[in-house]
């Protein structure tokens, strides 16, 4: 086989490998970015998919907050930002729920995302929030949970499964109904 033929095959191989790797990169990006896209539909269909892992720094210190650490408790997972108007109305309701239900094994876990840390701390102080809050400035956890805006809330049962979801501002009745559902889910 002549050198010319060999070099032509080599060039074609390199071109095919390059295109294949770019397609692979695109598929990987699409699958990892939209990993949570199916969660909302699954919960609306009555399924209880496992909550995606969540491990973020705490807003008020150097510790980390992990959802896995709350296994055995029901969790209200609320995604918010200080610049979000409905979040300001939800915050007092979440604080009340945390105080009222914590003895029954409920944890309210806030995730502040796409926000200035300083603004988030002011928000926590202004509304007197005492439940744990994680900070996710770049918002990396949002696509994993299929989120598209603020506020959005997931209710997680004691076995770490997603049992209810709210896009946008929830009502007091919706909050309580879903808390009961998360606490009683078997």
């Amino acid at each position: 086989m002549s050198w010319r033929v060999v070099s032509r095959f080599a060039l074609q191989g390199v071109a095919v490998a390059l295109v294949a790797s770019l397609v692979g990169l695109l598929v990987w990006q699409m699958t990892t970015k939209d990993a949570g896209a199916g969660l909302v539909g699954a919960v609306e269909d009555g399924e209880k998919p496992a909550a995606p892992p969540l491990d973020l720094p705490a807003l008020d210190g150097d510790e980390r907050i992990s959802l896995a650490a709350y296994r055995g408790k029901a969790v209200v997972l609320n995604f918010w930002a200080s610049w979000c108007e409905p979040c300001k109305r939800e915050a007092p309701m979440l604080e009340q729920a945390w105080r009222r239900y914590r003895a029954r094994g409920l944890v309210v876990l806030g995730v502040d995302a796409q926000d200035f840390e300083r603004d988030a701390r002011r928000f926590v102080e202004r509304y007197g929030l005492t439940y744990p809050i994680a900070y996710d400035g770049p918002g990396e956890s949002l696509p994993r949970y299929g989120l598209s805006g603020f506020p959005e809330t997931w209710w997680v049962d004691r076995r770490g499964r997603l049992v209810a979801y709210s896009r946008g501002e929830f009502t007091r009745a919706e909050l309580q109904r879903n808390i009961e559902r998360a606490l009683e889910s078997a």
């Binding site: 610049w83 979000c84 796409q114 926000d115 200035f116 400035g137 770049p138 603020f150």
Partner: protein
């Protein structure tokens, strides 16, 4: 003494604009940053987070912060996705190099193909034999032209 003071004053006057150039402005940064919730540049977005970022930039430009410093602070809060163009470092170099490399490869491929095509075309062209004009015909043409000129 007066001359020394004049020289110092002149140096200060010249140095002031140079120092002022390091201070960023909102306009400098608005098209280089992305609003995290809407994925457009800051200058095109009126979302609440974009407004908050603009406020922050105004606060920092009021203290004469540099463009690099403000960008670094925003990256620390919102991640590298907040930058409209990836930084020229590490893996992000690929984003700058690959398009240029692609253009260069495409240029080489087009050149090679064009040269090959021209070569093949030249090889396939019919051979033109020497077009020597018949002397009798040449004489008649000259005569006709001379008659025409007269």
């Amino acid at each position: 003494m007066i001359r020394t003071l004049a020289v110092l004053a002149g140096a200060l006057v010249l140095a002031a604009p140079a120092a002022a150039q390091d201070c960023a402005t909102l306009a400098d940064l608005e098209d280089e940053l992305i609003c995290p919730t809407c994925n457009t540049t800051l200058e095109l977005s009126r979302s609440p987070v974009a407004e908050r970022m603009r406020d922050y930039i105004r606060e920092r430009t009021a203290t004469c912060a540099t463009k690099q410093a403000i960008k670094a602070e925003l990256v620390a809060q919102f991640g590298e996705e907040v930058l409209a163009a990836p930084p020229k470092s590490g893996f992000n170099w690929l984003a700058w190099v690959l398009p240029l490399a692609g253009l260069a490869v495409a240029g080489v491929v087009v050149t090679v193909l064009a040269r090959r095509w021209l070569r093949e075309r030249a090889a396939a062209a019919p051979v033109v034999h020497s077009a020597r004009v018949d002397p009798e015909l040449e004489r008649r043409v000259d005569d006709e032209l001379a008659r025409f000129d007269a």
